[in-house]
Symmetry: D2
Subunit: 304 residues, 4 copies
């Protein structure tokens, strides 16, 4: 059975079962999305794409973008990053502030909010125009000049992001934010506002399946070693307190966002993205998780 | 460069650098071990072994044995196991009791002490003679009738294991221990007392690199799916609060013990064991971690 | 209006309102008590008693006895007690094990379970026959040779006291238990099994309203300074995570037990006991709390 | 021995022993204070004052002012206050954010930072010009039109108060802040900036020893019942994680500030203030605590 058939069969099956969970509503814009959306795109390392459903509809990738800001910071060669952010799983969402307090303002990893905020602070220290240079970097990685921030989403995040304001101020109190808190959090809210389609997403993140090199052009985004390490971080920290469950059931490194998107990587082979807005109780796409579990059960290909 | 050369070169290099850390002393027997011991054995899926140093000296594998009790429980087909134990990383050693309290006596995963104690309780529910049947199972997996408990270590664990007594009673208070606490903890202390050499260790755990099948005989120890899942659990939970660091720097699923042993797996390829008694500040073998990091840096083969 | 009238009026009013909450059932014996029981006894410093309802029915005083074991330990002059137990409120019931872990096995105060277990350990270190000598001490303080342990309750506590076994083993792992855990916990379970009537209770604890001296005989149980300090500890720590609420609404130092008893003290004036088995959601007698709040609202006499 | 003699003797003795601890330096202005300052003033309910040392030097009363904002909120009759703030001790400084998270943004009590910020939010909801009306209220209670905010201190708090910004945003994320966070925190920083002398302090707080009535004028600041309850809150929550220790050693309701001031109350008798800038490791005035302990040891008058 070829890849397109497996994608389609899995898609059809998952679409036939109950679409459980709830769309994120902590910002009004996310709450407006049609919960019936469901799209998939697998991009192999040679650039071939296999799709199903709403694979070309734009959605808010939210926290998935944290992998790109991390990649940018790594490519800038900042030496302080692993002194200022750990690489351990966070244990649980519940613990985020607890751990931050007992660990003196050092976030557990760069993919939780606190860690991504420190990454934004690092970017602010290195860049003259952080917002402009970050989106330029992401367009470059995506090989697509049309990728953009959603100002509507960014402003909505800002108007409702009290917990993120709390995080940045709390870390500033420990000395782990070097720049002005308003500048840092503004960059963070913009990072969270980026929109992509499933096809753009799996293509953009293809370098992580390709030893750090952009698909087709083979341009180096990260070194092979950096790329492996980003995959390792996604594996252990990419799904909040469901990282172990995802490793256990799916077996691929990946990252989810509250917009209902997930991207996952089989190193040396392919990158796959799924989007379905309803979230399970741990904040990951309900259908996205089910799809990937069934897909890897069928292909028998995982990193384990 | 062939495998034996890489093993030897890496061994020689690591032996030449400072042997930092401290031997575990929480039970007197472990404290008596010569800290200069250092052995390595890599067993490929065809059964070939490459060694360096003290690869044939017996040592206390301690928590590494938790993977075998888990495998035994999985092979018994108990349906309740994933209701009674989660598969998420524990966040940090510090949190173990905190999390157990806030999560109503459900351990975070089967490789921390609390989780392994619940696994022992499950074994007690299924087996008539738990201690005898567990060692018989392990001898069978190891294909070696000489594997044994160390009664000296088991008694020493018992005389000093107040925190483990606390854990089993605490979980009993939540109803997550079904058998008599003394029977369960006795099985747990015996499990922790097993001794192996590096060569025995990498051979015994070879089934995890071989899709669940014993090396050479191809006898099924676990199904392919179960085997992948045990690897996923080792990947996210095998090194206490250094799981992320190990994933980041080494990139293989593995498990460590406070006796200074580590076993790690490259699926479909090989199993490697390292032993050096001095532990780093997170309780994992100092030289063992360094060796595996350098070894995978050289071979460029990781799951990521 | 005289004291007897206020006691009777308050009693009648509280009896007329809904008897909310639940009888403790964690040990079967407590669950068998008739929830309609309701008794009160106020003993003035001159020994006069004012009563209402079931003031002469025996009930399990449970944790209220922790004040007597503390008094005994203080009278033995052990210097280590305040190095091994703190005098701070515990914050909340939820935190007990959390705090014990982060504070290296030092209980927050001598009136929570962990602290009372350390007090029992101190008694075991000083006494040849701890169980016999403790009950003898309590009979002496009560000036009543009939006070006794309930073996039924003590055995029932033992059969169900997994969390207390967890606590004693946990503290032993930190070195804060010096004697055999089984001996210590046996003394603790016996301490918790003592039975008194309301009239016995307010008379026994009368020394805390009387500058440390037994009522009528004026025999010194504690020095004046020790007596004040026990009152201060009851004030800040006597009601688990409802200590502040009790101070706020009642304004007297006191101690509650899960048997539904409460004893409270107005220094230099009187001691009052209330018993009603149904507990509010924080584990204190529902009617007992209501009674004392209304009583002090009427008398206008509090320590504040 | 009369009161003046006891004050002087105690003062002389405490001045003769080592002046341990450190001046607070988290804002530069506090760090500039001469650590040798030491003043005491006791005001009896008839208005008589007994003093020693620097009793008429202005200092930053810091958190002591939280009692006045609480009194103001109580006098405004807001019904929601005890739904939005608890009255339990906080357990420990360490736990503040932990507890706030696990308790859904409800502060433990109105005297910790988080609770005082909610009180400021309540004032913002009731007042048109919160800053002006708060200082007017305090002048009225103090019967002294000269009491003022220190703009220097308030601005310094603002420039360094990242943890307080974190708190207000964190509670806003739980919906427990109703007004604009910037307005609320500005009022809070001004509240923290008030300066008084020891003599002003013990006179201003005299209403808490006087059944809620201003000394001399007998004007009602709080009802008798409210006054008792504020004393009860100070008793259980006035000294962060040293509340139990203060109750145990001193035995009076009171409140401390990081400027080195302490005010304490013996109901129906007197109010006493002490000021010495060096703080012990729990953030309370080193000499202040020692003075009050020795003073009440001498007078034998405590609430217990």
């Amino acid at each position: 059975m070829n890849c397109q058939n497996i994608i389609e069969d899995t898609y059809t099956y998952i679409k036939s079962i109950e679409n459980k969970g709830n769309v994120a509503t902590y910002i009004p814009e996310l709450g407006k999305v049609d919960p019936a959306h469901f799209g998939v795109c697998l991009t192999t390392n040679d650039g071939t794409q296999y799709t199903a459903g709403d694979a070309n509809t734009l959605f808010s990738i939210q926290s998935i973008a944290k992998v790109l800001s991390l990649s940018f910071a790594l490519s800038l060669g900042d030496k302080s990053i692993w002194q200022r952010i750990d690489v351990e799983p966070s244990g649980s969402a519940f613990n985020s502030l607890v751990q931050l307090e007992s660990e003196n303002g050092i976030p557990r990893n760069p993919l939780i909010n606190a860690g991504a905020i420190v990454v934004c602070d690092i970017l602010c220290s290195h860049l003259k125009e952080p917002k402009e240079e970050l989106i330029a970097y992401i367009r470059d990685v995506a090989n697509n000049p049309g990728i953009h921030y959603s100002e509507t989403i960014a402003q909505s995040e800002k108007s409702n992001g009290y917990r993120n304001f709390a995080l940045v101020n709390f870390m500033k109190s420990f000395g782990n934010i070097k720049n002005d808190v308003d500048q840092v959090i503004d960059l963070y809210f913009h990072l969270s506002s980026i929109e992509m389609t499933c096809c753009q997403l799996s293509k953009t993140y293809g370098f992580l399946a390709n030893g750090g090199k952009q698909l087709i052009t083979q341009k180096e985004i990260l070194t092979r070693s950096q790329s492996k390490r980003v995959n390792a971080i996604m594996q252990t920290c990419g799904f909040y307190d469901e990282a172990g469950e995802f490793a256990y059931k799916v077996g691929l490194p990946g990252k989810s966002g509250v917009g209902g998107g997930i991207v996952a990587v089989l190193p040396n082979s392919y990158t796959i993205s799924v989007w379905s807005p309803k979230l399970n109780e741990r904040g990951n796409s309900y259908r996205g998780m089910k799809f990937l579990e069934r897909f890897t059960d069928t292909t028998h290909e995982t990193i384990f």
